[in-house]
Symmetry: C2
Subunit: 120 residues, 2 copies
Amino acid sequence: MTTDQDCPGLLPEPTVAELRLEAVLHALADPTRLRIVADLAAVGGDELNCLAFELPVTKSTLTHHFRVLREAGLIRQHRRGTSKMNTLRAADLSARFPGLLDAVLVAAGPCFTTPKPAAR
Amino acid sequence: MTTDQDCPGLLPEPTVAELRLEAVLHALADPTRLRIVADLAAVGGDELNCLAFELPVTKSTLTHHFRVLREAGLIRQHRRGTSKMNTLRAADLSARFPGLLDAVLVAAGPCFTTPKPAAR
DNA sequence: CTCGTAGTTTGACAGATGTCGTAGTACGGC
DNA sequence: GCCGTACTACGACATCTGTCAAACTACGAG
């Protein structure tokens, strides 16, 4: 019961059907996580490793936040070498909660008014 | 400058400019509060007293949740007699975070797909 | 004035949450 | 094989959160 492919290194995540609104909202309600999501949206679908974010927290805390985001279904993570790449599950979220992510991103950062033009 | 009018019995609430995204998301992330918001949206702008909601919590807890919602700017409360009337600040929210409330309501209740047509 | 209804306040409490530091694991480069 | 980088796991901790019960206030009806 996960979108889990055989794709090696992909970490477990909820399927589109498993996405829970409360979990998504809760994940987005934290400033650090909201910032991560906004940053991911800003790069328009590209991958970012966990340390690519300049956040005022330690690595442990970052790991924690990334897990919350992944378990809520907001991001996808898979290992690549020693790094872990993160992507926003924009399409999955739109499929399950139409308009929600867009509205949050617009509200979060007036700069990212054009979050996901056409994949990368 | 809160939206506070001289309207007697109106409880303090944030102005549109004071609405904080995190606070709104946090307020919506709780099932009880989400339910309250969805119920308010369902009646299309009418007022509901606090006990009009059939929720599995005590009055104290309800008071707590209503305060969180009001302080986050999601609802407006004003006293009327011994009751306290609650209304959703749909217009204010749309002004500050366009599409957000709508997206959440659609995501929350498939039943309320037409949340605020034009009052009921 | 007395009573009942509606809601508030306070205190308590268990559980979740965000944070850190330290130690540990996994992988690539040498 | 050894080391450094990137991330994880674990434990600790303070704070926050949702919940309740009991006592209190506010208002209207009678």
